[in-house]
């Protein structure tokens, strides 16, 4: 994971270069703009790119996110990673990391807040609405199933 972080940092640094920035920008694909479409097939790269991009995360958020990613990593042995369409964003005012996915049924969200809590939210197109508010002492595999199942 450190190698990936370093390469992203180097890439960002080279793009800032006064002498070579333009050339580098044209030749090398941008890691930072591509991170949201980065395949989840390589979970560790995905984890690194998210934590690199969302520097607003504190230690508790990172820890919770890492636990979730570990559970995800285990499950990706059984399911096709290309079908796991998880989008990443932040809720700026809350400094929260947001993972969300949309299916034909509705939207599922996982919110890792700055107080160490995790919210699961499901809003169905049929009017169904669900919410769970959890602390760190949860089974992350169950949380993953919940997030992926709707």
């Amino acid at each position: 994971m450190n190698f990936t972080t370093n390469s992203i940092r180097n890439s960002a640094s080279l793009e800032q270069s006064v002498l070579y920035g333009d050339i580098y920008f044209k030749v090398i694909p941008k890691h930072t703009s591509a991170f949201n479409s980065l395949s989840i097939r390589n979970v560790s790269d995905w984890f690194e790119s998210v934590t690199f991009h969302y520097t607003c995360m504190n230690a508790d958020q990172r820890k919770n996110f890492e636990c979730f990613v570990t559970a995800l990593h285990r499950q990706l042995q059984n399911i096709d990673p290309e079908k796991v369409d998880v989008k990443v964003d932040e809720i700026t005012e809350e400094s929260s990391l947001l993972l969300w996915r949309e299916s034909t049924n509705g939207i599922s969200k996982l919110i890792f807040n700055e107080f160490g809590g995790i919210s699961y939210v499901y809003i169905g197109k049929d009017g169904k609405k669900k919410r769970g508010l959890f602390d760190t002492a949860i089974d992350f595999e169950k949380l993953l199933y919940l997030f992926m199942s709707m």
């Binding site: 969300w100 939207i107 807040n113 609405k129």
Partner: protein
Amino acid sequence: MACQLAYIPKHLHAGDRQPENIFQVGEELYYRTNPDNLQRPYDNIKLQDISHNRSVLPKQGDKEDVLYNIIIDDEQERYENKTIVALLIKNLGELDTYSKTFTTKYDDALSVTITLLHDPVPCMYPHSVFELRLVDGTVVDSHNYTKTLGKRNQAYSDLREQIRNELTAMMLNEEIDSTQSFEEVVL
């Protein structure tokens, strides 16, 4: 105060007309948002001014009216790059409007009530808002936001998230339903 913007049609001027706070089932509310933000329109805004336009006021109104810019001293007349979402009022509470109260497990004494109100402004009679009122009676606005609902602690953060979820559900289902609440999930 009279409307000072020449490009706003006369029938949208509030003039002396008073608010009509009785809403109707079947009425629509129009909200403008960015086209690429339809799934999560409220995740990255502050919850201090949640404005919509009513469909039934005035009678000759049009849903496109919500695209008029009513900010004085701003050259842009219309928000041409925005899209409009129509929310259908499916049912109403006792006071003929939508109203819900949210509580938080992090502070038993705290709650916030969201209420749909008709709020005419000089250049936009159909203007309406989702008013947010704290349990002590304080109405949240842009001036007091950081000292009220915008406070940075776990209880207020939880309330804000619940309100965002409620508004997002309205947007996703394109309806306002006073009866449906979020079912609690336990792991």
